[in-house]
Symmetry: C2
Subunit: 414 residues, 2 copies
């Protein structure tokens, strides 16, 4: 996936360790039966960080979410490390919180920090007891191998049905100081975002207060990760967190000033890229879908409309079949939670091969099926919706619905 | 599918013509390229009927919905005929209402009634102009062939991706008079009910006022058809309508008395059976899923919880794979729009082969995978959820998600 070019921001290598002062590692501890599959990952910062997190809105919250939240509350938004495992979500288990806290304690002992400074996350099967022994046995070796160049090992450790590692980082300047912001993610752009855990870990060496970090994260998650697929429903273990260690040496951002906007744009570029990677690596996906909704009266309407289209299984199936079925797009707009005037809506389908207008003023148009099929044969498809009832726009991302999605999910536990 | 036995109600043949005084017909007029596929159907009552309808809540409403609504408003809830075509939804077309009205006029001319007494419906592709000529050319022959024994021809005319005709009828007694109530339906228990048009046409010879008919229909649709799949989202053309001609000779039902309850139960049995048929014939479905939610504090909570589980693509995929994945069920309850206390929830999976408790007090249980797989290998699966926080229960119905769903929907238009 191409990184979106923006003046003042440069793509850099290093993922979650691109920022100065961060190192990471990953290993196979034995939770996953595949002997070569990393299933335990760690991130560590030399300096205590300001930290912020956005959690799942599901009423069932994974035990690691509950423990992380308590820790960040106890430290007033400070953290120095992340410990994360895959294969077992440690959720809906009677001893879940105890095990999650134990992961923090084990990590803190190795790193000589306090357990409350550890962010803990788990992803995998729900409702099966988490074996703590494999983690306890490998945490020493994991911590001993911490290094900036091991960012990929950590990114590999959080993968479940993911087929590619998801990492990205940018460099930018704040008051003349070079800053870096990078992240790693896991999750698949499944039918709904409620369907599989998505974890995002972001680090930066920019100096920013915990309060402004929290504000920026919430604003950017709203227009990136929360626009992946449909409706804000989330899995039990979803979490996006960010650590800022201030090593870049810029004056700390403490208000919504120009530096804050520069920082927020960096966060947008990284989270948007990870979101698109999640969409493109959707379970069984053969195409990445981007829905751009323009001409909305407000942001919530633009987001709701774009997400409704991206979340429609019939739209997704049609895109898999390269079928320019504008009726399904209009239908999905029609059941979105908005007050749209459908008689003003235009719809265009686009890709690198060109674009086809399929609907004007809410009515289907005649178009060349051949041309449309050529546009939709590409791997990245844009559904452009002009609502013609305002000036606000938003995007949502998803993927097509394929045979392989069903195959992957028919027997995920084994 | 077995008809649910209830004392006082007997299954009878005849579908939408089981009630006295109704006849029907269907033919191939040429909208559908398959030469033997009926694509135009008609229902007619000897006597003017009280009529009621429930329409889609989609903001995009098919032209036939708009015209039917106007007609029933104009006649104050009276109708004598239904005209319906498949293959083209006559929706999102500039001339849609004109064409839908034209269908009423053509039908009325043949039947010597007024166009306002005709209920019109269309199902199929959205956004393509409806050719009216094939309908105009065949309406005479269609009307000439009206007969009670042709109920199956009408039921065949509304099928799209349906693999079986959906008809059912019951007889019951009101004040000693034998009454009949029967219906036909089309639609597939797709991923969401928003995904494909569902049409239900019900007729009865019971005498009931238009007002009470409307009330009964709304109450019963809420706990049957609106509990098919997920979330009340509906396609552009969904409609459930009922015609009551009073030929049974019972004293007209005009209040919520005992007779009303007997009538409502008959309507429940017919609409529930059709709903289960729709679920079982879901696009590509291999299993019918019934989720029973008991112990809810109120009906809305029970319905929302049951529908959230039935609508989850991950639950549906797991059922296809006979995988007793209780985590996905808990996750779906967790993102349902309810205030559930998840720590009280028990979950059991059941079929004709027995039952397996997979969750107690919100935590996953160890169970025999072999036993669970045997239970889930059946074609009708019940997901029993005991919320343990009240005394109200509700059911929702759906189907598993299979390879064939994707295949059917990847290129529906061609």
């Amino acid at each position: 996936m191409k990184f979106q070019q923006e003046t003042g921001y440069e793509y850099v290598e290093g993922g979650v360790c691109a920022a100065d002062g961060f190192c990471a590692n990953g290993c196979h501890c034995g939770l996953d039966p595949r002997p070569d599959k990393n299933d335990l990952g760690i991130i560590y910062s030399e300096k205590l960080c300001n930290a912020a997190a956005v959690y799942t809105t599901n009423k069932v919250k994974g035990a690691p979410i509950l423990v992380t939240k308590k820790n960040l509350d106890a430290t007033d938004g400070k953290a120095r490390a992340v410990i994360v495992n895959s294969k077992n979500a440690n959720t809906c288990n009677a001893d879940g919180e105890e095990k999650a806290w134990r992961m923090c304690v084990l990590t803190a002992q190795e790193l000589k920090i306090t357990p409350e400074e550890v962010i803990v996350a788990s992803t995998g099967v729900i409702g099966q007891a988490l074996p703590i022994e494999p983690i306890a046995e490998h945490i020493g070796r994991l911590a001993a191998g911490l290094a900036p160049e091991n960012h990929g090992e950590a990114a590999a450790a959080i993968m479940t049905t993911d087929t590619v590692k998801k990492e990205v980082a940018v460099s930018f300047r704040l008051n003349g100081k070079i800053c870096r912001l990078g992240g790693m993610a896991k999750g698949s752009g499944m039918i709904h975002p409620n369907m599989a855990t998505t974890l995002n870990f972001v680090t930066t060496d920019a100096a920013i207060s915990a309060k402004m970090l929290d504000r920026a994260l919430h604003d950017i998650v709203k227009v990136t990760y929360n626009c992946l697929s449909i409706d804000g429903d989330t899995s039990t273990n979803d979490m996006v967190c960010i650590l800022a260690n201030g090593k870049a040496g810029n004056p700390e951002i403490t208000a919504e000033d120009e530096s804050y906007e520069v920082f927020k744009k960096a966060l947008y570029l990284v989270l948007m890229h990870l979101t698109k990677m999640l969409a493109a690596d959707g379970e069984g996906a053969s195409k990445m879908l981007e829905c751009t909704c323009t001409g909305a009266p407000d942001l919530d309407t633009a987001i709701a409309a774009a997400k409704s289209v991206i979340g429609s299984s019939l739209v997704k199936s049609a895109m898999f079949g390269a079928d320019a079925n504008c009726g399904r797009i209009l239908c999905a707009l029609g059941y979105s939670d908005t007050d749209l005037d459908m008689s003003k809506v235009d719809v265009e389908l686009a890709s690198e091969k060109g674009s086809v207008l399929v609907c004007r003023d809410g009515n289907g148009l005649a178009f060349s099926e051949e041309e449309a099929a050529a546009v939709l044969a590409e791997e990245e498809i844009e559904i452009r919706i002009q609502l013609n009832q305002g000036n606000v726009s938003a995007k949502a991302w998803g993927c097509d619905l394929t045979y392989d999605y069903v195959k992957i999910n028919a027997d995920y536990r084994s």
